[in-house]
Symmetry: C2
Subunit: 160 residues, 2 copies
């Protein structure tokens, strides 16, 4: 008998992504109200995804983290470790592209994913963790607030 | 006769920072309503600034850009080039720690500094330029709006 998805979500394990995870990760990135249309998970994957993966893997300041549940990639985020002069030369951990599989939302996977990411930032000596979230994602904003993040800034984008 | 500061501001030239610029850059970073108290420009500079400068200089995805006017560093910003999977593997240019010397504000130096930064992002193939700005900096927000940036996101921070 198949387990309903809401059982066992706390068995999700978090680890660095490998290239074998890439199709599943792009599936998560594309399956998003705002990302839809911007991304394309059809196989074979667009070469631009493979190029980006290679660039990230070669860069010691990038982490691609996946959540795996029963052999399936169900969550993703990217961390970028950024050195800087401000705040007495503080390193920042910046989080991008947070995704949890739609059918597994609300089960605590996202919270544990972020906890893992913040833990990695701490281990790397970051003094600040930062992310931006589209102003229309009200639910995500409550989620980040519960995790202790403060929406102190406006996030500006310029599409080239 | 000394030139008043508002004359010749358009002679400001933009270039990569060198380690000789570091004291002046930290001076700009510390001389800021919000940064004050977080940074310390007293000499000799705290070793943490030198360590951060070295980390940034060794990282091909970091640019420290200064504006120089008559031999003096009067503006600064940092660009981080960030690879990512979202938006079909788009690179982003992220701008941090934007500063223009207080006495030279309103003369167009900041706009030209940002134009140079956006030009570098374009030359590196970025498809997006992003930055965050404290919600209390109303004047800065109008400035970024005039440059074409859209405040579509909230910026969340977690201090560790």
């Amino acid at each position: 008998m198949m387990q309903p998805p809401e059982q066992g979500a706390d068995e999700t394990r978090f680890r660095q992504a490998t290239r074998y995870d890439l199709p599943a990760i792009i599936g998560l990135i594309a399956d998003d109200g705002l990302g839809r249309g911007r991304d394309d998970a059809s196989l074979p994957l667009d070469a631009s995804y493979v190029n980006a993966f290679n660039a990230m893997e070669a860069d010691g300041n990038q982490v691609m983290m996946v959540g795996e549940l029963r052999g399936e990639v169900v969550a993703y985020l990217q961390i970028t470790f950024i050195p800087g002069l401000s705040r007495k030369g503080a390193w920042r951990g910046q989080i991008e592209s947070v995704r949890v599989a739609c059918r597994l939302r609300g089960l605590g996977i996202g919270g544990r994913l972020l906890d893992h990411a913040v833990g990695l930032c701490r281990a790397r000596g970051c003094r600040l963790v930062q992310l931006t979230s589209d102003k229309t994602r009200a639910e995500a904003h409550r989620f980040y607030g519960r995790l202790g993040f403060v929406a102190s800034h406006d996030g500006f984008k310029l599409v080239l």
